[in-house]
């Protein structure tokens, strides 16, 4: 589905100055807050001005919005968990949430589990080509860019280059692929991520497609009626100005998206193939070695935006696992894998939280990719498509096989419905 597209700019010069591109997102948020359409805005902000310590924040005063303008590539705030855990899943308040594609996908998965109320949320998705873990980023700036990390005021990933801008106005850029070969660069899960434009949010905003503009602008795609109305009203009230992008910029955006997708496929192949090439017993040995490092800190479970059980099976009080045993039984990581792998949105929060550096996101996204093939299910894209382990369709009653061929069931359904039309 492609929605109505805009090239938008903020009408506020102060926002324009600080913004990543056209400042339209910050101004849209201001519009929402000032007109009382939302009770608050959830976005990320550099804590105490530290770019490497971005945290999710709830902003209720329009004046504070300016603090959140601009992108933070070297922080990994857990927006969906914040909304669910600390804002009561937006059950009682209206919120606008700004997030990367994986954040938005996690929110959509949480809606399927009735942990949040999506009706109360306006989802503003940002284009994303990846984020960098803060410690890696600092080390990389020192080792490779030869700059003081504290002097960096902006980063950008564009056309295979990582660009940093310093306080004194100078910029430096290095080839991202080369950095990543050396172990720097984006987080592992981001390298493998093929979802750059969040067209499942209400608005998908970003820089792609605005490169040829003389003045910086934000490319907005309104992907739902909610999103379209919001942009139209904000234009009417003078918070943003907007024009329609020409064919050239739409094409440019598509090209950039496709280039990133291709790169992601390469990374997937690179990360997954060595594991899949191992024979089964070697593969088991590999994973058991990794699992043996686990110190059972529950960090992965607590960071996972999809894990939501009030009384987790892994707690010692449930009697499923022995309490106080380190490393815990292999069942510990595998239980989480069995419970959430079908809905993993590849946000990488588990691996970021892990103090022992277990390759969790690799395990989860590998299984998720394989389950996608089995179930034909892509998590976090369509709120009406139920998660594969808890949704069954009546057609399955007619099938005796113990392993369903879901694609052929779906095909039969489609041809049936097209005949009816």
């Amino acid at each position: 589905m492609s929605g109505i597209m805009y090239l938008a700019r903020s009408s506020d010069p102060k926002v324009l100055e600080k913004a990543e591109s056209g400042g339209a997102v910050t101004s849209l948020l201001r519009f929402l807050l000032e007109t009382g359409k939302v009770d608050g805005v959830v976005t990320a902000k550099a804590r105490n001005g530290n770019r490497y310590a971005g945290v999710p924040v709830l902003i209720t005063e329009p004046e504070e919005l300016i603090d959140s303008a601009g992108s933070l590539h070297c922080s990994i705030p857990n927006i969906p968990r914040f909304v669910k855990e600390y804002l009561d899943g937006a059950m009682k308040m209206k919120l606008a949430v700004v997030g990367k594609p994986c954040d938005i996908r996690a929110l959509i998965e949480l809606q399927k589990r009735e942990q949040i109320d999506l009706d109360n949320l306006i989802l503003i998705g940002l284009n994303c080509t990846g984020t960098i873990s803060p410690t890696t980023a600092k080390q990389m700036f020192i080792d490779e860019f030869k700059v003081n990390p504290n002097e960096v005021i902006r980063e950008d990933i564009d056309e295979g280059k990582l660009l940093v801008m310093l306080e004194d106005g100078t910029t430096k850029s290095l080839d991202l692929m080369k950095l990543e070969e050396k172990g720097y660069g984006r987080r592992e899960n981001c390298r493998r991520c093929e979802i750059n434009i969040p067209i499942f949010a209400d608005l998908a905003c970003g820089k792609w497609g605005t490169e040829d503009e003389e003045e910086r602008a934000t490319f907005i795609e309104a992907c739902s009626d909610k999103g379209r109305l919001l942009v139209e009203e904000a234009i009417e009230r003078g918070f943003i100005t907007a024009e329609r992008p020409d064919k050239k910029s739409i094409k440019k955006r598509e090209e950039k998206d496709n280039a990133e997708k291709e790169l992601a496929e390469l990374w997937k192949e690179r990360d997954f193939k060595p594991i899949l090439d191992l024979d089964l017993s070697k593969r088991l040995e590999y994973w058991l070695n990794e699992f043996n490092k686990c110190i059972k800190c529950y960090g992965c479970r607590d960071a996972c935006p999809i894990c939501f059980c009030d009384h987790c099976l892994l707690e010692a009080s449930r009697g499923f696992l022995e309490g106080g045993e380190i490393p815990p039984d292999t069942v510990f990581p595998l239980t989480r894998l069995a419970h959430v792998a079908d809905s993993c949105v590849n946000c990488g929060q588990c691996q970021d939280a892990c103090p022992m550096d277990l390759p969790l996101s690799k395990l989860f996204s590998l299984l998720n990719a394989r389950l996608n093939e089995v179930f034909g299910y892509m998590p976090g894209i369509d709120v009406d498509q139920k998660q594969p382990l808890s949704a069954v369709i009546m057609e399955e009653l007619q099938v005796e096989d113990t392993f369903l061929d879901i694609s052929s069931i779906n095909k039969a359904l489609q041809s049936k419905s097209s005949k009816r039309d």
Binding site: E285, L337, A341, L366, L389, L397, T402, F403
Partner: protein, 152 residues
């Protein structure tokens, strides 16, 4: 029986004969358990090395139970439920089937032979099917050999 012991006796037993697999069977209360019961009362012979666990529905089997059984050294796990369309709770067995599909993929991904897990539809009257499924599964597991997890 340990391998050395057999060798000492000079017996010509093959690996498959020596290996007595441990098999856990989760049986649905409404069909497969009754089917197993019928197999018993009908004096149908089947392999005695299957440990049955009666569950109120095959979908009561959390995927982690299967994983836990295998991680604790079970050589095979059998889940048996009602035929599609005959579930006492209408769609429980359909959920089981989806979990089974997930588990098969999961086991393969982490390096455990997916054939160690089997799902079968066995109704209360299918005592013969129960016996033949168990025998066949035991044969299959014997061919696979012992679960590596059990040796650790």
């Amino acid at each position: 029986m340990k391998t050395e012991q057999v060798e000492k006796r000079g017996s010509a037993k093959t690996h498959e004969d020596i290996f007595e697999p441990k098999i856990i069977a989760f049986l649905c209360n409404w069909c497969s358990y009754a089917g197993a019961d019928l197999a018993g009362t009908s004096r149908i012979q089947y392999s005695p090395i299957v440990h049955s666990v009666r569950v109120s529905c095959s979908s009561r089997v959390d995927p982690t139970y299967v994983i836990k059984a295998l991680m604790m050294g079970a050589d095979g796990v059998l889940i048996a439920g009602c035929h599609p369309g005959e579930c006492h709770y209408k769609s429980g067995n359909l959920l089981t089937r989806r979990r089974f599909m997930m588990l098969k993929t999961l086991l393969e991904t982490i390096g455990i032979e997916p054939d160690r897990l089997r799902l079968e539809w066995i109704s209360a009257s299918e005592a013969n099917k129960f016996a033949s499924v168990v025998d066949d599964f035991v044969k299959q597991i014997k061919k696979l050999g012992p679960n590596e997890m059990g040796e650790q």
